[in-house]
Amino acid sequence: MKITILHDLIRWEEKALYQASLKKGLDVSLIDIKDEFFDVTKDYDSKFGDVALQRATSYYKGLHSAAIIESLGVKVINSSQVLMITGNKLFTTLKLKENNIATPRTIVAFSPEKAIEAFKELGEKAVIKPVLGSWGRMVALLDSYYSAKAVFEEREYMEPIYQVYYLQEFVKRPPRDIRAFVVGDQVIAAIYRHQPSGDFRTNTALGGKAENCPVTKEIEDLAIKAAKAIGNGVYGVDMMETEKGIVVHEVNGTVEFKNSVSVTGVDIPAKIIDFAIEVAKR
């Protein structure tokens, strides 16, 4: 069986997935999509094997290359359909709502004027997030009318995606969130991510500290439900412990796990490769 690991950058995760594939005796190749071109209107035998893991850090490169490689009859994990949803916070929120999965109240507007009305609707305290991108980049807590107005105005001078004003209620929770790792129909591990001092965001990319989190029934059910809502795949399901129970606020489709393997003791890359083998056989 031949497996391909697609990437635009090689991180710890890509090397770990590569090693895990070798250990299972797979014919594995690392392909940098930046080093390829794709004759999309031609049919040809692809070199991408039976299944490909989409590990591109860039949402656009990952989504588009996944769609192309799927057109060659190769199964891609995660699929372009899944990546389209997980890569965009609004699409993820709509999927969660469609499947009655508790998620923070979210209001979306397309102009500064309506964004201010949404901000008032949320009690003049809200978190604004770009619908694309991650690692907590540009996720901001707005808790004053004038600073909110300033942020909205500045966005009008940025690329069009920033005129999608995605505002979420500020959820009261302990200084941590939960990331559950879902592979296929299993929650294989979970971590708490403790926010660093001086920040309300918990991303480990911003200094959030990972700690093992026991996978309770509530976490497992919610994580599986969120994953099933989007499609069979490999996810990082992000949750918050609120006063009214656990809510899912985001589902990530190119999950990072460097800090999680050590604190959970779970061989996450090996589980992902097992899942890829299973998908390739279907």
Binding site: L9, I10, D32, P130, L132, G133
Partner: protein
Amino acid sequence: MPLTAKCKECGADIEIPDDALPGEIVSCPDCGLEYEIVSIQAGKVELKLAEEIGEDWGE
């Protein structure tokens, strides 16, 4: 002797890990500039400046 490359910015030696692969990011220990490994062949390593973090990067 681990493989090294010269930082184009400050001239410091950048140590290349033994298991490094093309496409991987290494950063200069002195000035912190990040490079992407282009190739590693016969004890020689080629680097290029790493891409800026894109707005659509991330999970």
